[in-house]
């Protein structure tokens, strides 16, 4: 199947008082219709900026997309006119955000906010848009949708607001739904419900999804493909089962180790990744992860590792990804650490 969305070498920079931030540095990926891509990384790894860049929503003039292509159905979003981009936003590519508390406008009724894009993109009347908004609210599981559509956002609970955001994003039946940390700001009990809802909506509407999260657990269940980001770069990318099962990058290992496991009785200790993510103004020379990597060697400090295909077909950006001694998958650790 042809790619619905293809991103090639996307780079976005921010000019700040302290220097230039390379928020996104040459990221490439593709998304097929109806599929789900998970984008994973710590805070500040460039996940959200990647999404905003695709929508051309990076705040100018501080932020600037400096290179790459975002091909949506073959057309480069980065070369579109302002008008063409607007026609695409909310219509063909829709987005939901992390904090449903602040992402809805407090002074407009929920139904009106959902209907707004229908009026804009589908040319509906105010009344038709409102009726459709009620249907959408009902679809995302808001009880008494007709009454609740007349409520203001503050009258909704956090979970309901995120449901309303999903309804808003799906209003125009988009080809792609970008969900930027859709569950992060919610109670744990609500998180699963929202994820389930997103998957259910995908089944029903066939929309492709890009889900951005720092929670590997979220992605593992639902994503077909996974892209792991670190310091604005891709470190590993490919089919979900390979990235998780046959990971060849120490950063991904670190992420996996810092995840609580539910599938064994063993109370394995959580192993956090030592250190902090780097400042994106002074990205470490060579592999950006080397200061925190327990396996780092001389080459890691001097050369940026290329993103290369591995045996399983997924891509990994570690100098040792091709080293058979290195890739003993999950049975690495102790001895290797002892060697150092």
């Amino acid at each position: 199947m042809p790619a619905l969305l293809e991103v090639r070498g996307l780079s976005t920079r921010f000019t700040t008082r302290d220097g230039i931030v390379k928020a996104v540095d040459g990221v490439s990926f593709a998304l097929e219709p109806g599929k789900t891509l998970g984008v994973v990384g710590e805070s500040g790894s460039g996940k959200s900026v990647t999404a905003l860049s695709m929508m051309r929503l990076v705040a100018e003039p501080q932020g600037k997309i400096v290179g790459g292509e975002v091909l949506f159905k073959g057309a480069d979003v980065l070369k579109m006119s302002e008008r063409e981009v607007r026609d695409m936003r909310g219509n063909r590519i829709a987005m939901i955000f992390q904090d449903p508390m602040t992402s809805l406008n407090p002074v407009f009724r929920v139904g009106r906010q959902i209907g707004e894009s229908l009026i804009l993109h589908k040319g509906m009347s105010r009344k038709d848009a409102f009726d459709r908004a009620v249907q959408l609210l009902d679809m995302v599981g808001i009880p008494n949708a007709r009454d609740r559509a007349k409520d203001y956002p503050h009258q909704f609970s956090g979970g309901m607001r995120q449901r309303a955001m999903i309804a808003m994003a799906l209003a125009c039946d988009p080809d792609i739904l970008i969900a930027d940390e859709p569950t992060t700001a919610l109670d744990v009990t609500i998180q699963a419900q929202i994820l389930e809802l997103i998957m259910e909506m995908q089944e029903r509407t066939g929309t492709a999804i890009i889900i951005i999260t720092h929670d590997l657990g979220v992605v593992a269940d639902i994503a077909n493909d996974v892209m792991v980001m670190y310091a604005g770069r891709q470190v590993e990318y490919g089919e979900s089962r390979h990235v998780f099962g046959d990971s060849l990058h120490p950063y991904t290992w670190g992420l996996l180790d810092s995840l609580p496991r539910h599938d064994s009785d063993e109370k394995g200790e959580l192993v956090p990744i030592e250190g902090q993510p780097p400042s994106l103004i002074n990205v470490p020379y060579g592999c950006a992860f080397h200061p925190r990597c327990p396996y780092a060697e001389e080459i890691c400090r001097s050369e940026v590792p290329p993103l290369l295909a591995t045996d399983t077909g997924h891509l990994s950006a570690c100098h040792f990804s091709a080293d058979p001694a290195f890739r003993r998958g999950m049975d690495r650790d102790q001895e290797r650490v002892a060697l150092k």
């Binding site: 829709a94 955000f97 406008n105 993109h121 503050h154 009258q155």
Partner: protein, 325 residues
Amino acid sequence: MLKYTVRRIFQMIPVFIGVTLILFILRAPGVLPGDPVRMITGERAIPDALREQIVKKHALDQPLHRQYVIYIGNLLQGDLGESYQRGRPVLDIFADKFPNTLRLAFAGIIVEIIIGLTAGIISAVRQYSFLDVLVTLSTSILVSVPVFWLGMLFQIFFGIKLKEWTGGAVHLPISQMSSAEFPDWAHLILPAITLASVSTAYVARIMRSQMLEAMGQDYIRTALAKGLTRRAVTFRHGLKNALIPVVTFVGIDFGVMMGGAILTETVFSWPGVGREIFLAVGQRDWPIVMGGVIIIVFLVMIINLIVDLSYALLDPRIRYGGDAE
């Protein structure tokens, strides 16, 4: 909402007592100079009998606290006393002057809204542009210029210099409410602009900062992600949120203006409430001063209440106690 309103009205009572008490203490003998009888009769010597009569009529022989009780008693019956100088009921005097003050206040508030909002919005939408710098600079100057001096500058420039330069063809009226030479509305121009000057500058600044703040909110990003134009996002999603504090300011300011603008009315000889109080202070005409201040306090309190209640209409998040969900 009703409960809240009633509670607010009850809260006015202590304010009222406080204001009247302070005014009464100020007129106690020895605090401020001036003998009321002399104010009424003038400098000429008067027979003791007449003096007695005047003292009795105004209850000046009673101890101060008795006088206060009498005054409040009359006040509650809608009687603000009689002017020392003019021999007319205070209420009648203000009833004459109030419409003039109201007219000026309306004109001022219109200037404030139109110029203040426009300047603030332009300034925020074109942040750091030439216009923004211009607005920021001129509002800084305006808030620091004394109103009476600004009024006088306007009079000199628009009334006198402009007339000289154009050979009498173009100029504006600089005093009074009407004249044979100009239509009535022309008389409003300079006083209204002067009266509104400081508030307009504040409105522009509040509007600018609120607008900038609103435009940085997450819901703006949501609106942009829907595909709305920048203009729609700014004026629909940004403006409505940014307006809430501005409306509050304008509302309260309207209350203040209705209470009479003492400086502006004096500079422009505008026969309003403020000028009346100013003249009365000079003449130690206490009933007028007292009555005027009480009317102003009352108006400001009422308007503040209306402004607070109108919050609920503008901002759906605010619901006043009593009908909580």
